[in-house]
């Protein structure tokens, strides 16, 4: 395996709420290889967006990185000075937000916003910036004559392409995309995902794709990191993790997703809701919703351990994963005990 582009070790992020710290992300550990798309999956409030944002060190005023490291190309993002971090943004690590509408300035044309990034951040001359803008628009599939248009003149999907063009402007090595297709219709969603994949192959960039949708992961990602209530519960190659999940939460997610390619079948919800992070349960945080939880799950937090090769899971019953998978398929398994 080559040297990872980004390596997270025990990264924790805390929000100060009142007099207390709420740990939103606890001990996140995973790698991102060069030229790969890593899906960061979980429900709202699981810490996936907080984790993604921490990698550009753009966090809410009451949030801070509470521990661990995030080594990007040999330097720890956590320890960098604000000035050095600012040097990384756009040039090395770029961000695509969920809603491009909120990230583009409505009073400037998209062309001038691109030019600003290229000249101010990238130090390009105006003519070179113009040429580069045209090239970027071609890459993301927008006609270059639209550089003079304002954000409101674009549809949602086109705006998202503009946001991708902006992210690519200075040739970053890593793009962090926070739910980039969630607000879009399926056809546009598919076209944007195809675009990301093509760019990965053509430019060798890596992408961390934050999403709640395992179908999106299955379509475009090489690896997947599953988060639950602030912790990484499973990580591995996409195909292995989705076809043979080792953590009951991932097994449950799979049951809750409709599959257009398969028989109509039944969908099984995971009963209950994620814990309050201000007051998390002891032990495994999924235990209160887990049909396979045992006594030790409620007292000891399981560590992230190898299941098969570089497929890891944080579950006390990891050795029985195959048997649990077989039971997890049945919807009765997930019914709450009366």
């Amino acid at each position: 395996m080559t040297e990872p582009l980004l390596s997270l070790k025990d990264l924790s992020i805390a929000y100060k709420v009142g007099a207390h710290d709420t740990i939103a992300v606890e001990g996140a550990t995973f790698d991102v290889q060069p030229g790969s798309i890593v899906g960061l999956v979980g429900e709202s409030g699981c810490g996936k967006t907080t984790l993604a944002r921490s990698l550009t060190r753009v966090l809410a005023a009451n949030a801070r990185i509470a521990g661990g490291e995030a080594v990007f190309c040999g330097q720890d993002i956590v320890a960098l000075s604000e000035r050095a971090m600012n040097g990384l943004r756009w040039r090395e690590i770029a961000f695509i937000p969920q809603s491009a509408m909120n990230s583009l300035d409505p009073v400037y044309t998209v062309g001038s916003q691109l030019a600003e990034v290229l000249t101010r951040r990238g130090g390009m001359a105006r003519a070179a910036a113009r040429k580069r803008s045209e090239e970027l628009f071609e890459w993301v599939g927008i006609e270059t004559n639209r550089l003079g248009d304002y954000p409101h003149q674009f549809s949602g999907g086109m705006r998202q392409r503009v946001a991708i063009a902006l992210a690519l402007a200075l040739d970053p090595k890593l793009i962090i995309a926070d739910e980039p297709v969630t607000a879009l219709d399926v056809i546009v969603q598919r076209q944007i995902l195809d675009q990301l994949r093509e760019l990965k192959e053509r430019l060798g960039i890596s992408v961390i794709l934050v999403t709640h949708d395992i179908s999106v992961v299955a379509y475009v990602c090489d690896r997947v990191v599953v988060m639950y209530a602030g912790r990484v519960v499973e990580t591995g190659p996409m195909a292995a993790t989705l076809t043979a999940p080792a953590h009951p939460y991932t097994m449950g997610l799979r049951n809750a997703f409709p599959d257009l390619a398969g028989a109509a079948g039944e969908l099984t919800p995971i009963e209950g809701s994620p814990p309050d992070l201000a007051n998390p349960p002891a032990g495994c945080r999924f235990a209160p919703r887990c049909p396979f939880a045992e006594a030790r799950c409620r007292t000891d937090a399981p560590e992230l351990l190898p299941y098969e090769g570089d497929h890891l899971a944080a579950c006390h019953r990891i050795a029985e994963a195959e048997a649990l998978r077989a039971r997890a398929v049945a919807s009765e398994t997930w019914e709450i005990p009366a």
Partner: protein
Amino acid sequence: MRDTQDPPLIKLEAAELHFPVGGILAQLQGRSTVVKAVDGVTFELHRGESVGLLGESGCGKTSTGRMLVRLDKATGGRVEFDGEDISALSGDALKRFRSRVQLIFQNPFEALNPRFTIRDVLAEPLENARIPKAEHEDRILRAMALVKLGDATQFMDRYPHQLSGGQLQRIVMARALILEPEFVVADEPVSMLDVSVRAGVLNVFRDVRAKTGITAIYISHDLALVRYVCERTIVMYLGRIVEDGPTEDIVANPLHPYTQALVAAVPVPHPDQSHEPLPIGRGAPDPRNPPSGCTFRDRCPRAFDRCAVEAPGPTRIQNRIVHCHLHAPET
């Protein structure tokens, strides 16, 4: 599209919902145009049917839903409910109609008054319908049981912000169902919910249908979800119906080129899937300026001369209706 002797509960005949765009000045100068949100939609719904209205944003599916419950009045054509033209309803007749049809909103976090307890939220429609107070408690408990909020007493005196998204959406459904309507329109009811709870709400929807026999329209852009709750699907594009038929047939063998792209675009939650480019042109439909003839032709990979001059009419193929010249009989 079942063959039944019963008269349909819902009947749309060339229904239109056109909105003027442009300000007063544009109208005075005669420059005003209309957006044809719904442009000549015809279909029937029989009692107990559950039909998905499927399409991209701007296709007119939500406008059609609003027209069906008369939140918007059709600007052309006819919308009938139980044999009556609902555009003509007023006064007591309109009130009666309103108690027979309901809308379930997309965002449960915004659909409920934050200052009302759950009991107040559910009692409000009962009060509006002048149901005697003595019956309220019983009706509320029954509605909550229907949406599987079994231990109702634990929720009754809470406020919306104290409930999770899945619980809130069940309350929204309970409120829509509490007057025992005959017809309900659900507009993307699970799009704001997390995946692990979405399945639960969809199961409640199926369950309610089985128990009450309610007639339902389910509006969504996600065919995988529509397939889970509707036996029949109507696909819309730029204000018009392109295909209408049994959901399973549409999933297995879509006939209209737009439906074909839509089916191919739905991602599936496992690794073995096609990465072929979609059979559809880029770009988004512009409702203010649709192409002549077939409105899909500028994105259609199989468009030919006739598509630009003539809007395709309905062609019946077995139990399906397709609006496409590729399937039209030779003329």
